[in-house]
Subunit: 314 residues, 2 copies
């Protein structure tokens, strides 16, 4: 039977084969194949594409495809590259991923709030000095972006006793968390955050959102963490704010190109922690189950699932 589901990725062959095996195990009733392993004449039978950083040219080889499921939560590259491609794209919304990200945000918020980088620097100088201690209950954390990941992170921080504010494009209501929206709301949040954590999607609206003016609004000695997309931040302005001592420390998990080039100044900046995009690895098992559920619902109902909103970009 020709494949009805094509796996379309630009992953390493081994990673692609691992995904194929896991997806097949999750959907034993479906015929799934990597697009390059499907005969040319059979490509028209494919009605669903499962993708991870796909080549748009590959997707155009699938005339019968009705919808696409991404294995990744971030889809801004897909939106940009596919442009006028008209079928719905479903992005991965994995509650398990939200939990993983929320834990990463909590852990790295403690890293900043408990002055772990400063204590490491002191140790290198053999310096015994107790830095002022600020309890979680006296530490204000501002979360930018209140989608599934941002909401889970905000709730997790609030549960740990931090004072949490959140900002999102659309109004949100989350118990125990003060939420804001709009340009004025962003300024207000920045003025009142000891630590800012970025979990926004990258869209035309958020590209370059955090620049000189925004970093200037933060209280002196604030910390910053970016677990979303590098392009949301004007890197030169972030570095300037660190160099001028207005910002204490930045944790960066995302970069314009990854891996980060070895000559990038962020590697050696004393107030920047460079992480190799570790905050929320996709869990293949839970992701495959989520995709399988969407495929099953479609087979039963024949209703194409709602995809992302191309005009918003997520």
């Amino acid at each position: 039977m020709p494949a009805s589901i094509a796996l379309v990725t630009r992953l390493q062959p081994q990673a692609e084969q691992t995904w194929l095996a896991i997806l097949r195990a999750a959907m034993p009733n479906e015929t799934i194949a990597v697009i390059d392993e499907i005969e040319e004449g059979d490509l028209r039978h494919v009605d669903i594409a499962i993708v991870a950083n796909p080549d748009p040219a590959d997707l155009r080889r699938l005339p019968g495809v009705r919808w696409i499921h991404s294995l990744w939560a971030g889809v801004e590259r897909l939106v940009m590259e596919l442009g006028a491609f008209s079928c719905p794209i479903v992005r991965l919304v994995d509650p398990k991923l939200s939990e993983t990200m929320a834990e990463a945000v909590l852990a790295w918020t403690y890293y900043i709030s408990r002055d772990m980088p400063a204590y490491a620097a002191q140790q290198r100088q053999r310096q015994w000095r107790q830095l002022p201690y600020r309890a979680a209950g006296d530490t204000r954390v501002g979360i930018l972006g209140l989608g599934a990941l941002g909401t889970a992170a905000a709730e997790r921080l609030a549960m740990a006793g931090f004072r949490v504010n959140g900002w999102s494009r659309r109004e949100k209501s989350i118990p125990g968390i003060e939420t804001r929206t709009g340009a004025a709301g962003l300024k207000q949040l920045l003025r009142q955050s000891d630590i800012v954590v970025c979990l926004l999607p990258l869209t035309a609206d958020t590209a370059g959102l955090l620049g000189r003016e925004e970093f200037a609004l933060l209280p002196a000695g604030a910390g910053f963490a970016n677990f979303a997309r590098a392009q949301i931040v004007e890197t030169s302005e972030l570095i300037r704010a660190l160099d001028e001592g207005r910002l204490k420390h930045a944790v960066l998990d995302v970069f314009e190109t990854e891996p980060l080039g070895s000559d990038d100044p962020r590697w050696i900046h004393p107030d920047i922690t460079v992480l190799p995009h570790i905050s929320a690895p996709t869990n293949p098992s839970t992701a495959a189950l989520i995709v399988a559920t969407a495929v099953h619902d479609y087979r039963v109902s024949a209703v194409v699932p709602a995809g992302i909103d191309f005009s918003r970009g997520y």
Copy 2:
């Protein structure tokens, strides 16, 4: 009116005066003075001593003292130095202190479990490498000592999703936490802990408790943190376990003498994080209220409060 409460410390004068002011504010009906400011003939009127690392010779100058309240949670030095001194010593048990310690334990447990020292080392090499991720729910933390601090820390870790085991001298029952006791229980806990956190009191029984045999029981790549007293650990054996790669990393907040001498090898060990005794600073405001309550109860009831058990040492 001659002082009835003497403040006896070996703190810096400024710190001593700060304590004096806070204690006086918390007990406006009492006459409190630093022992050196009390006239020789009036020392006999003192019936309560409030102490922080006191010189035993000073305490012997107070013939009428009925009981002593320490401003610190750790009193092993007091016990050792006072020896046969017969009046009860009350140590500080501050719920706020437990909360502060619990937060420190959670933060530095993340530091170990999220491989923060390893990522810092990679950054120095400009190395982009994702280390295997282990969620809190797959990470077993063993807490040594289930007093007020250990129990609060265990509960906090369990709330954050870690799998928590606890060990204490006497049997304890804490919901959601597997507890053990005795020599066999200690071995069992060590074998089943990915991270061990020491919160034991220093007593004759716990001095040198963790040595070669104990570190050998830990699973390969385990982490260790000591927030209690340095003397509980055989430092040379800890360093050996790190050097042989059996232990991944150690966070040390306590040392035999503090500040740690600048020629101590722990400062420069790549797998040791040296902290300047920061985990749980006494909060003077809440501590003063606790002491004030004990003093008030004594004035009303004339019953000398129960002190620490000298035979146990805490």
